[in-house]
Symmetry: C2
Subunit: 596 residues, 2 copies
């Protein structure tokens, strides 16, 4: 099998780090205990390993193709999508009243990781559909919910997000698409949308586009954008498919990676206007879109973790098989498999430490989201929501940055074979590269982290998280051995670096925004390194506690945690130096354009 | 123009950092003064900008193609190669008695950078030919030199290096190709060679393969490998082309990048044996190959720098043109070009600082090579040779690692457009990825740096370099301003980190090789970061001195040097922590295969 879901590590994180038991104790999640999680994960692992992973290379070699406005998905994808929706996977975390399974995000998250690990291109279609479902559930009318959500959950239809236009990428204030009100309360939509993932395909009978556009009287900027439902086929009163709407896929992009996932240019209104229906209130479109975007951002973070896991598994398999050179310590007279060479181990351990750290942080964030939605106590809900929101840009930004390094190491472990496309390591390297760009580039995540998540509350949540880290550092001091000692020392320095940066950001963003924003991405990465290191420290503590249950598994967890402490956490200090030199860095801001 | 050679910066480095004047004063280089350098660089810039760079995208979209054993280069490449050789560029640094121009390596090096910046796939052909020329000049008989070298310099023929076999990549001890001696003194060669760059093509009338193989009585391992000339077409006594030799290109690879450069699988001896001629003495093949490989390794370092420069130029052009979002400091009410955003400046400054630092170090190394070859004093020749040899794995290893980060940032600056192949940023990202792999992976470079370059002389050369850095730090202390202060502080810490690691390596490699080799690649990167930082410090000093001559240029040099000090040099400290924790890292070495 090309991908085997790391169910054991996933369940370890769920139980020992993310508090599966406390999530299962939340109102409405009574049936979602650890045994449920295990059963669901085992089933997801089967589908992903047996059905979706084998199609990953297929999709890269024979991408979805465009002909005369229609897109045909890679052979096998349509059938796989059928299996996916028939298994109920699209509805995993959606309400049961619309056909969903209403499971905690904590259980859905590992499944989403698996899906993306197995086949990133495929997984994008359900990811976007999830976003559409969330937006409709949040802002749609009862009629809209009833009309669209069950079909999206059943997989008869899929969903898209239509934000980007040629002149409006990160800056949605520049959106120009128009929505003209009609006498019957509907709108006619005109404009060009680009980079629309799965914007056209043949895997489902209808596509529900959620489109940002401006009504004629809308104010300029982001406060004049509304959200519209524009179905590919109109839906009749009785819920059947009607006429083809005036939206056409004029081309799909030729991309570096995720080739099986069609990235469409959609043209609205060339033949009189595409029929659209306002979602929620006019001019609040961006707000609704951010609801689905925040869910999608978390999902993209999971994509990074999934691809990192796959790249790691492939590199390990090659390193065990490829025989080359004698050991540097002279312990064998003949060439050995390269997994015995220290530098190959360093690369594999780096890949694994980054992946496990990011996984643990993401699952912990998912648990906060569950508590934020379901906790009986309002203050607790608010507290969890604040932490979750602080973590989302970090999960998205850090997981998608680190996966580039992980996939690159995966290529490197393969040596010359890594550069040959048939090997498959290069596909992860290419596929992964979009993740730090779409759903908000790392800089956009970092702006969010600085502005909305750190400065707005004066650093309160960041400090609360740091206080939790301090408790972990104290717990490490109670444990014997070099691993705990090393982790304690490095986590302490990392946390101090993060604390210094948080105070710098809080103190300077208003008075010297350029100095702070020169360091915003480094701050995000520093936070990622330290918070994932914190989770590795908690894993170290848990594995020390449970060691006897499974010495091989827990022994490896402890080793990898120590490696994280010694090889990844030290970067935190150097990043803090860069960030805190922000004023010095301003000289770069003073350079004229000609000087570049 | 898609690429404009940075001639001004190149000449600055030649003159102010690499000692162009002292090189021009060496015996035999009397005509090679600064004016010569300027004239040569201007000419090279024209050829690269006007002829080679426009073919770069062409080659990516329509790679060289294989049909029935023959390879047709991308349309336009053959004519461009004609212009290249007619301009005398293949002979730049080769002896005039064979038709070369006998210029210093210091002048040839910027030309090679340009060539690779303009068109990496194209540049590989002359790079390999350079290697073949050097091997023949070093180990060939007078007859072999006379027969092959002038044709290689004139570009009538090209050269290749045939080392790798399916089971023998980094580990050449595993080479199996056979050479059977014939009555006439020639050999018959049998075997399969893979990853042979420009191993078959139609740009020249003949190809001179230099092939590693074993004679029947050869000892096992690397001490039983001999080097053979195997021309594609045999050469008659009078120097004309004779019969087709028994070497066939059975396929070319489908690769992540450098697609225009055909990577051949060559089959020797399927029809009775390919005629080959021993070069130098039997069983010393690897030694000769290392001569060309060291030159080629330096050349691959230049490839990294060239691609980094191109990626930077493309990103700058886009950042000046793309309008998106208002400035974070509120200095404009409308969206501005993204070069005004701090994070975009941070990315561009990172790309530029890494590129300029690596360029300066490489040119300084080239000057050491010139002194090593031509200095009147034997002790000085030896001193310069030792420094050059210390620098080669760093120039190769660091320049090819940093270019992956630079090309990745280049994609990131382009946002979503970076992921679209038509944009061109992704090509640099794909092309660059081979550089840290071929001609010895970064781990192989790091082994060389640890074993031959640091431990063998007990750290003497490394300490000599550190003593020179200390002088630069003292000079910085004499200069006013925040840039010099920042650089002085960070370079001091970086040099201390490097010094600690050198002593660790010297003290521990024999007694605890695993601990040291866990940190060998980090040591190489640390050395790259610090030595390039040292050159940036020297640039800062020179630009402070010359500021009035060209305030815009020198002002930018100072700003970029300060950025290097604050954003790149701090990484040195964190790497030293990882390396010095090597014993802790050994727990990763103790993991069983099953634990991965």
């Amino acid at each position: 099998m090309s991908y085997t879901a790391p169910v054991k590590d996933m369940l370890f994180v769920l139980k020992e780090l993310a508090g599966m038991d406390t999530v299962a104790a939340l109102p409405g999640f009574e049936d979602a205990n650890f045994d449920t999680a295990q059963a669901v994960l085992d089933e997801a692992a089967k589908l992903c390993g047996e059905v979706l992973a084998p199609l990953n290379v297929t999709g890269d070699r024979a991408p979805s193709s465009w002909h005369d406005g229609e897109v045909t998905a890679t052979a096998g994808f349509k059938e796989a999508f059928r299996q996916f929706v028939e298994g109920g996977w699209q509805g995993l975390q959606h309400p049961s009243e619309y056909g969903g399974q209403a499971l905690p995000k904590l259980i859905a998250t590992p499944c989403i990781e698996m899906l993306n690990a197995a086949n990133l291109s495929f997984a994008l279609c359900p990811l976007l559909t999830d976003g559409a479902i969330e937006a409709l559930l949040t802002a749609g009318t009862d009629d809209q919910k009833a009309r669209y959500v069950p079909k999206l959950i059943s997989g008869e239809w899929t969903g898209t997000m239509n934000l980007t236009e040629p002149q409006a990428g990160s800056d949605l204030a520049l959106v120009r698409s128009r929505a003209e009100p009609q006498a019957d309360g509907s709108y006619r939509i005109f404009g060009t949308k680009i980079f629309i993932t799965w914007g056209e395909h043949d895997m489902a009978e209808n596509i529900v586009h959620l489109v940002l556009a401006r009504t004629p009287d809308a104010p300029a900027g982001v406060k004049g954008i509304s959200l519209f439902i524009v179905p590919k086929f109109l839906v009749t009163e009785d819920g059947n498919l009607g006429a083809r709407n005036d939206v056409r896929c004029v081309s799909i992009e030729h991309k570096l990676g995720i080739k099986a996932s069609p990235t469409a240019v959609l043209q609205y209104g060339d033949e009189g206007g595409a029929v659209g229906y306002l979602v929620g209130e006019a001019n609040r479109g961006l707000e609704y879109m951010f609801i689905m975007m925040n869910a999608a951002r978390f999902g993209v973070g999971m994509q990074g973790i999934g691809v990192a896991e796959s790249a790691y598994q492939k590199a390990v398999a090659y390193a065990k098989e490829r025989v080359q050179s004698r050991p540097v310590d002279g312990s064998a007279a003949q060439a050995v498999s390269i997994i015995h060479h220290p530098d190959v181990r360093r690369m594999l351990a780096t890949m694994r430490a980054l992946t496990e750290g990011a996984r643990a942080l993401a699952y912990v964030a998912a648990a906060h989201s569950d508590h934020a939605h379901r906790h009986a106590d309002a203050a607790e809900r608010e507290r969890h929501q604040a932490i979750y929101e602080y973590l989302v840009p970090i999960v998205k930004g850090w997981s998608t940055e680190m996966v580039n390094d992980v996939a690159s190491l995966g290529v490197q472990v393969h040596g010359g074979m890594g550069f040959i496309e048939e090997t498959g390591a290069a596909q992860f390297y290419r596929d992964a590269r979009i993740l730090a760009i779409y759903e908000g580039t790392t800089a956009i995540q970092a702006n969010d982290l600085v502005g909305r998540k750190t400065v707005r509350d004066g650093g309160a949540v960041a400090r609360a998280v740091l206080a939790e880290i301090a408790e972990t550092i104290e717990a490490l001091a109670q444990v014997d051995g070099t691993a705990a000692a090393s982790m304690g020392a490095q986590l302490k320095q990392g946390a101090q670096a993060l604390a210094n940066v948080v105070e710098f950001v809080v103190a300077n963003t208003k008075r010297d925004p350029n100095a702070v924003f020169m360091g915003s991405v480094p701050y995000l990465k520093l936070a990622g390194i330290v918070l994932c290191g914190w989770q590795m420290a908690r894993a170290l503590l848990a594995s020390t506690r449970c060691h006897a249950d499974d010495p091989s598994f827990h022994g490896a967890k402890i080793v990898v945690a120590q490696f994280y402490a010694e090889h990844i956490l030290p970067l935190a200090g150097s990043m803090a130096v860069s960030i805190l030199s922000g004023r010095g860095g301003q000289s770069v801001l003073a350079m004229s354009e000609d000087q570049f």
